[in-house]
């Protein structure tokens, strides 16, 4: 019994032959039921091996996004469409997820499964799709799956950091970002995330050195510029801060993460009116978790 089973198992698992069916198939209900199957379908085929040199988004680069070669999280909708229709098979999955086309993404994932089941980037995308659907546990599982294929693959480590941060475990998130950035000195996303954390907790020097590097990569990344401005503002160097704020287009002042501190900086530098103007540009419908801070600044601005 054991031998038989083992044999059958081995045969099933090991054998893969490309010849088409020689036996004329009878017209049994089973034949009809499985008419959609071809012998070739059983072939495992060659799985795509991970190649770090090709693990990036090509053609999706944005002049406003220093991270766009490795993250399309901040890309605008139309850019995501570009990625979804590109030849980048893995990129297609994630772009669909970012577009919240999860059903479509799921189909693409299934179609790629056999080829990419050993590809860490594939599983990272799957994890992100779950993340984007709000299923953090699912995301966690697939990020770990990705890591199980390559423990030094930075994206899932960074993304785990994102989950930790979201979960309030910032210290753990910091470690994840740091590790992700250390694994690949060219990775920008963990550096960006790290800079944001440093900035949030007053490590302005540390944050600024990271941000400077990012700025050097792409001087038009408004998130980076804003962060640089904040770093100076926290230190009380309002003049320097305002230099950076000046680089931010006006339409972005509506973002609370830009507008509040810009207004505060203006006020601290004595430009009360400008401060009020900028502050008023903030889209109050999208204050997120900054509403308390928004209130404090507002009071300070005596508005």
């Amino acid at each position: 019994m054991k031998n038989l089973f083992c044999l059958s198992l081995i045969l099933l698992l090991v054998t893969s032959c490309g010849s088409s069916s020689k036996k004329s198939e009878n017209q049994s209900p089973e034949s009809q039921e499985f008419s959609w199957i071809e012998n070739n379908d059983f072939e495992s085929g060659e799985t795509v091996k991970y190649d770090e040199n090709s693990d990036l988004f090509e053609g999706s680069e944005s002049s406003y996004d220093s991270l766009s070669s490795e993250s399309i999280a901040r890309l605008p909708e139309f850019k995501l469409e570009v990625v979804a229709t590109s030849k980048d098979t893995i990129g297609k999955v994630i772009s669909l997820c970012y577009q919240k086309k999860f059903k479509e993404a799921s189909q693409v994932m299934d179609s790629l499964f056999k080829k990419y089941k050993n590809h860490p980037a594939y599983w990272n995308q799957v994890g992100t799709c779950f993340f984007l659907q709000g299923n953090m546990r699912g995301a966690l599982l697939y990020y770990n799956k990705s890591l199980s294929l390559n423990k030094n693959y930075a994206p899932p480590i960074n993304n785990l950091g994102v989950i930790y941060q979201k979960d309030g475990r910032e210290q753990k998130a910091l470690l994840a970002f740091k590790k992700a950035s250390e694994l690949n000195s060219f990775s920008l996303t963990p550096i960006f995330n790290l800079s944001q954390m440093y900035l949030k907790y007053g490590f302005t020097d540390k944050a600024r050195s990271l941000l400077a590097a990012l700025f050097k990569k792409n001087g038009k990344d408004m998130d980076v510029i804003n962060s640089l401005a904040v770093s100076y503002m926290i230190e009380g160097n309002y003049t320097e801060a305002l230099k950076w704020y000046d680089k931010i287009p006006r339409d972005l002042h509506s973002r609370y993460d830009i507008g509040i501190n810009y207004a505060l900086t203006l006020k601290l530098s004595g430009r009360v009116k400008d401060a009020q103007t900028v502050f008023e540009r903030i889209n109050v419908t999208k204050l997120g978790d900054s509403s308390t801070y928004y209130g404090k600044v507002k009071r300070y601005l005596e508005l």
């Binding site: 089973e30 071809e38 693990d55 990036l56």
Partner: protein
């Protein structure tokens, strides 16, 4: 003529008369006897009268009287004898013989007394020899041989040498010795007597002398004397002894090694040589001279002219050969006689004798062939067996109705001689014949022998192939339930199987089952061979049929074998499919597996295996939905043991289902796998456990996840895995704000000290939720428990997660805030005594703040450290500022100046301490990258009117690719 001479003549006359009486013919005997008695009586009367006259002084008269009395006694005795013999035997038996023979006895005794009187009264009587001669003859009459012999010796001694009495006494004594076979004593007596006596009895006495010579190996003398006797026998003067001479002289010649002389002797006399030789041989045989008899017969055979004579010779020879163990010659003779028998020449007696001989010799040779003695002489043994077989063959022909017996014995002989091929053949013949004759005993014995022969080493394959099957069949037929048949069935079965005659093998199996229905083991062994055959022949339908028969109870087999057989069927069912599979015809394999699965006649094993293989094929196809469906089906059909064997494969399949994001299905497969291997050794058990509950939670199925985690201990999952599961459940409940269940869950693990550090944070969340919902006391109670758990964990040197440390630090921070508040509430005021008291209280409270803060620092929470330092710095700086800022009211300038100076001295250490605290805080923050909202208080030299906060509206950025290099 003198009286004595006259008497002598008279005696001679009497003697002659007596002799003459011998020649009287039988019919005249009685008459003559009466006459003679009358004559004797006359003379006796006369002699008695004379003796009385002489007063017994004349011994001659006494001698004559004795002679007459003796003669009379003899005649009367003859009469009495005749009368006696004429009586009926019963009467004779009852008769008193002394009384019956009293008359003759009376005269014998008188004669005896007379002679003895003579010898007593006339001791010097010259004719004493004569007296002794009478006494000797008288003693002879009374069967007193020794006495007679002695009297003859006295007679010889007391008579004149060469005289008649002397010579006759010699002859008489010689004859006694001859009869006593004392030839060396008889020879000289005969020789001396015959030199003097030449009467008609010479031939007879010489014949005896010739034999005496022969007996003492004096062959030449014997032959010469015999020839002389033969020659005188032609003379009427002598008694004719020629026929005896003709008879014996051949023997003399033969014994002396000169048979040709005998032949010559007979030729010269124109006799029938073979007939005479035959006679000689008969004589020789009677004499116990068998070797000579054989030679004679062999010689006679050369001269025999008729078949009847030859028959007789062979007959004689056969007897002799038997005596000497000349089996070859005996057989030859027997065969010759058998040939005569076939021509109808043997008399009934001869035929019986031939049968006797053949039977005896066959038995003898059979015994010899079986004897140990010839074990080392195979050639001789074979020869004897062959001879015995020939005898048995003759015997069979002689007695056709008992031919089977003869053939049986012939078979037995060959078997004993280890001629197994021949014995098998003969046993088979005997079996058939005994069967026809209805002799069951020999039938059984023949069958036994046949089986034994066929089972012996050395029997040829040809013989086996010719007889084995029929022997087995016969045995089974005759004794279907015997011990022997028990083995025969099996041998027959094996024989059929060897010949690939499965039909008959099956019949044998069925017959065996009928005879030995309870011997399941053997039935099983036979069945196994049949099944193996069908397996080799790829005859699935037959195997299936047998499995069904077993299932119906037609064959009882062991559980193990039944299982094995089912497996065989299964193997066959799957062999073809697996071939397809291995040759890349996987689609067809899949179709076939599904058909096997659906087929009503498929066993559960087949269905189970089919389901498993279908699952693996869908696994190869990457069809998660069907992989799940068929894996689940296979798992449900499989025993726990089966699952253990294939757990790795199932794990791979479940992993693929998970890979295809079928959480519910993947979790279920892992759960089933866990359940199946729960009580078994399994290297993947903990993986199934972890996968199941983690995926269930990812799918939002808390209840199922909880069931899995709760089964962990019972399934022998390592406690670290179970603990992890418990924590995961708790975290899930926290993240889903499922506070009711969370409380219960925490309660269920609170006794596990290893879990305590991990549940501090969730407990804090619960406490917060309770407080938010207005259940302040419940919340506080949990917070109190958190601190207890922390103390326990710390004491147990357990690793405590950062978020738990933050929770503990936050709780402890309350005390610090209270102390700080107290510190701040102490106001400095004058008069001086009051000031000093309040200052003293301030310092005392500052100590309490410090010690409380230090306790928080000890917790190790980054957030707590920064906050505690902040409180310390603020307290020290605050106290310093309060003291420095106090100006005693209503005091002189000098007093105030002096007061301020002394207070500055007092506050400098406080401010220095505050600076130290600040420095320490900065060091800790930088070193440990502490992420605290109070960081700016220490890290920024300039404190803004609004503590700055940085937000990133889109949150941390997900990283989708490795990026540029």
């Amino acid at each position: 003529m003198t009286a004595s001479l006259r008497k002598t003549f008279f005696i001679l006359f009497l003697l002659l008369s007596i002799v003459t009486v011998r020649e009287v013919k039988a019919n005249d005997v009685a008459q003559r006897r009466s006459q003679l008695i009358a004559v004797i009586d006359e003379e006796l009367k006369e002699v008695t009268r004379l003796n009385r006259q002489t007063k017994s002084r004349n011994p001659r008269l006494l001698l004559r009287m004795a002679e007459l009395l003796l003669e009379k006694a003899r005649h009367i005795k003859e009469q009495e004898n005749e009368r006696f013999l004429s009586l009926p035997s019963e009467k004779r038996v009852k008769l008193n013989k002394n009384r019956f023979f009293k008359d003759s006895n009376k005269y014998f005794i008188q004669a005896q007394r007379t002679c003895l009187f003579i010898l007593k009264r006339h001791k010097s009587f010259k004719e004493k020899g004569h007296v002794y001669y009478i006494l000797a003859y008288n003693a002879k009459e009374f069967q007193q041989h020794e006495k007679a012999k002695n009297y003859f010796k006295y007679a010889i001694r007391n008579s004149r040498k060469g005289g008649e009495v002397n010579s006759k006494s010699r002859l008489a004594l010689a004859e006694i010795y001859y009869n006593e076979q004392r030839y060396s004593k008889s020879i000289p007596l005969y020789e001396s007597a015959l030199r003097k006596i030449n009467d008609k009895w010479w031939t007879k006495d010489s014949f005896n002398l010739a034999w005496s010579y022969f007996r003492t190996k004096k062959f030449d003398r014997a032959i010469a004397l015999m020839k002389k006797v033969y020659a005188r026998s032609k003379d009427s003067k002598y008694v004719d002894m020629s026929h005896l001479v003709e008879r014996d002289i051949a023997y003399f010649y033969t014994e002396s090694g000169n048979t040709s002389e005998a032949v010559k002797f007979y030729k010269e006399r124109g006799g029938d040589i073979s007939k005479n030789l035959l006679k000689v041989s008969n004589y020789l045989v009677n004499q116990g001279k068998f070797t000579a008899a054989e030679r004679t017969l062999s010689e006679a055979l050369k001269y025999s002219k008729s078949e009847i004579e030859r028959l007789e010779i062979y007959y004689q020879l056969m007897s002799l050969y038997e005596r000497f163990g000349k089996y070859g010659k005996h057989l030859d003779a027997a065969q010759k006689l058998y040939a005569y028998h076939k021509k109808g020449m043997l008399s009934a007696n001869q035929l019986e004798s031939l049968k006797y001989h053949v039977q005896k010799m066959a038995a003898l040779l059979q015994k010899q062939a079986a004897a140990k003695r010839y074990e080392t002489q195979p050639k001789i043994r074979s020869l004897k067996a062959k001879q015995a077989e020939t005898y048995f063959g003759i015997l069979a022909d002689l007695n056709p109705s008992k031919g089977f017996m003869a053939n049986f014995h012939a078979a037995e002989t060959n078997f004993a001689a280890k001629n197994f091929d021949r014995s098998a053949q003969l046993y088979a013949q005997a079996y058939n014949e005994s069967s026809a004759a209805g002799n069951k005993k020999i039938l059984n014995l023949s069958l036994n022998g046949l089986l034994a022969s066929l089972g012996s080493k050395g029997v040829s394959e040809a013989t086996k192939s010719r007889y084995l099957e029929s022997a087995y069949l016969a045995t089974i037929k005759n004794e279907p339930t015997s011990k022997r048949s028990y083995k025969i069935y099996q041998r027959l079965f094996s024989s059929y199987m060897e010949k690939k005659d499965v039909d008959n093998a099956e019949k044998t199996l069925n017959a065996f089952k009928g005879s030995f229905p309870r011997d399941y083991k053997t039935q099983e062994a036979m069945l196994a061979q049949v099944m193996e055959h069908y397996k080799q022949a790829n005859n699935e339908s037959m195997i299936k049929a047998y499995v069904q028969r077993i299932n119906r109870g037609e064959f009882k087999v062991s559980k193990g074998y039944a299982k094995k057989l089912k497996l065989l069927l299964l193997t066959m069912q799957f062999d073809d499919v697996e071939k397809l599979n291995s040759t890349g015809e996987k689609k067809q394999a899949l179709i076939d597996y599904v058909q096997i699965y659906k087929a009503p006649e498929s066993s559960e094993d087949a269905r189970k295996n089919a389901a498993y293989n279908i699952a693996t094929l869908f696994y190869q196809l990457g069809d998660a939905e069907r992989t799940y469906k068929w894996s689940k089906e296979a798992l449900n059909l499989m025993s726990n043991r089966d699952v253990s064997k294939f757990e790795s494969s199932f794990l791979a399949m479940a992993t693929d289902v998970f890979g295809k994001r079928r959480f519910s299905e993947a979790a279920e497969l892992n759960a089933i796998l866990l359940k199946k291997v729960c009580k078994r050794k399994s290297r993947n058990k903990k993986n199934f456990f972890k996968n199941a509950h983690v995926i269930y939670l990812a799918n939002g199925d808390y209840k199922s996840a909880q069931n899995i985690v709760d089964s962990g201990n019972a399934c022998g999952i390592p406690s670290s895995f179970v603990r992890e599961g418990q924590i995961d459940l708790i975290k899930y409940l926290v993240s889903n704000k499922n506070w009711g269940i969370l409380k219960d869950r925490i309660n269920s693990v609170r006794n596990d000290s290893s879990v305590l550090p991990e549940i501090i944070y969730p407990m804090s969340q619960l406490a917060e939720a309770l407080k938010q919902s207005g259940r302040i006391e419940d919340g506080r109670a949990i917070e109190s428990e958190i601190l207890n758990f922390y103390t326990t964990a710390k004491r147990g040197r357990k690793d405590i997660p950062l978020e738990a440390l933050d929770v503990v630090a936050d709780l402890k921070m309350r005390n610090l805030r209270v102390e700080v508040s107290k510190l701040n509430s102490i106001k400095l005021t004058f008069p001086e005594k009051l000031y000093n008291d309040s200052l003293k209280a301030k310092f005392a409270q500052l100590d309490r703040v410090t010690s409380t803060a230090l306790k928080i620092l000890e917790v190790g929470s980054g957030r707590g450290i920064v906050a505690a330092y902040k409180y310390l710095v603020e307290s020290y700086e605050g106290v310093g500022a309060d003291i420095r800022g106090f100006t005693p009211p209503d005091k002189s300038e000098d007093y105030i100046k002096s007061f301020k100076k002394s207070m500055t001295d007092l506050t400098n250490p406080l401010l220095a301490k505050a600076r130290d605290f600040r420095k320490e805080a900065v060091g800790q923050i930088s070193k440990s990258n502490i992420l605290s909202i109070d960081n700016n208080y220490f890290l920024q030299s300039k404190q803004l009117p609004v503590p700055p906060e940085h937000f990133y509206s889109r949150g941390a950025v997900l990283m989708d690719r490795g990026g540029k290099r």
